[in-house]
Amino acid sequence: MKKSVFAAALAVVMASASVTAFATENPNHQLTRTGTADTAVTYDVDPGYTVTIPKSITLGETLEVKAENVTLYSYESLVVSISATSEEDNSFKLRNGLRSLTYTITKGEDVVDLNSALLTVGGNASSGTAELKFNEPETAPTVAGTYTGTVTFNVRINGMA
């Protein structure tokens, strides 16, 4: 009987007291007898992407640039382009010693230009593929041998905040 009385008295004291201590340091909500509280639930999705680019290509073949696992903010898009070639003027040429031959790259029916977007992945898409045809020269080279050059692919994110 004495325990019951003591417990009841303690409850009355607690109920009438306002809880104000440590408000700035305590990460928890302060509860009052009649208040409500919200709990924010968050989950961070890290942005990122994987782009796969073949290391070599022979004229006459088709090259596939693939973007996968593209996770970006809604206002962003991933863009793949060719930003440079092995030529000083960035023309599409291959060289065999001092001799050169000119080639073209087409995506579908369109001739690819330097810095033009070859693959764009954004919005709700998480992957994409671009097929690029590296065309043999229209005029056969006059000197036999192996002609080589490089193209540099550039992967960037547009709409960066």
Partner: protein
């Protein structure tokens, strides 16, 4: 920066961004895989090189005469005939030539079919007389050209008959 390029170290040289390349750990791939786990917070674009190549195999077309008929009788009694060695669509390496050599196992001697009679002859281009295994024609790159060869008996035949011999043309590409 948390880009990972699992490819050859050469690719890393092309990267403007500071890319951590685990070239020694990664298998040799025929593709460059750019993994960016920093997304849009990465201000640097990633780059990768692709080698473009084209091989043009040496080719040429050389036409040699199947028969040379020494049917022209000259004023000195010898007989002669001509034939051309022709080359077309020559596409060979720089500083190379298509060389055509001539050889005769008989040493350029015609033999009469029905007897033991023989008749020596020589092969010339202008005033140049070719010996066995000499180069009778050379063609350089991009060239479509021909060389006329004259086959002439050294002397007038002493016996009538049909004289024949076979010469072999050896075609090769070299300096």
């Amino acid at each position: 920066m948390k880009k990972i390029i699992s490819a050859a170290a050469a690719i890393a040289l092309a990267c403007g961004a500071s890319i951590t390349a685990f070239a020694t750990d990664a298998p040799v791939l025929d593709k460059t895989v750019i993994k960016n786990v920093q997304g849009s917070t990465d201000p640097d674009p990633a780059q990768a090189n692709t080698t473009v190549q084209f091989s043009c195999d040496p080719k040429y077309t050389v036409t040699i005469p199947k028969t040379i008929d020494l049917s022209t009788e000259n004023t000195d009694g010898t007989f002669s005939g001509t034939g051309s060695v022709e080359a077309e669509d020559v596409c060979i390496g720089a500083d190379q030539k298509v060389n055509v050599k001539i050889s005769s196992t008989s040493g350029f001697t015609l033999s009469e079919t029905g007897s033991s009679a023989t008749l020596a002859y020589e092969v010339k281009n202008g005033t140049t007389v070719f010996a066995n295994n000499d180069t009778v024609a050379s063609f350089t790159n991009c060239e479509s050209d021909s060389t006329e060869l004259t086959f002439v008996t050294k002397t007038a035949p002493q016996y009538s008959g049909s004289y024949t011999d076979t010469v072999v043309f050896v075609i090769s590409v070299g300096a």
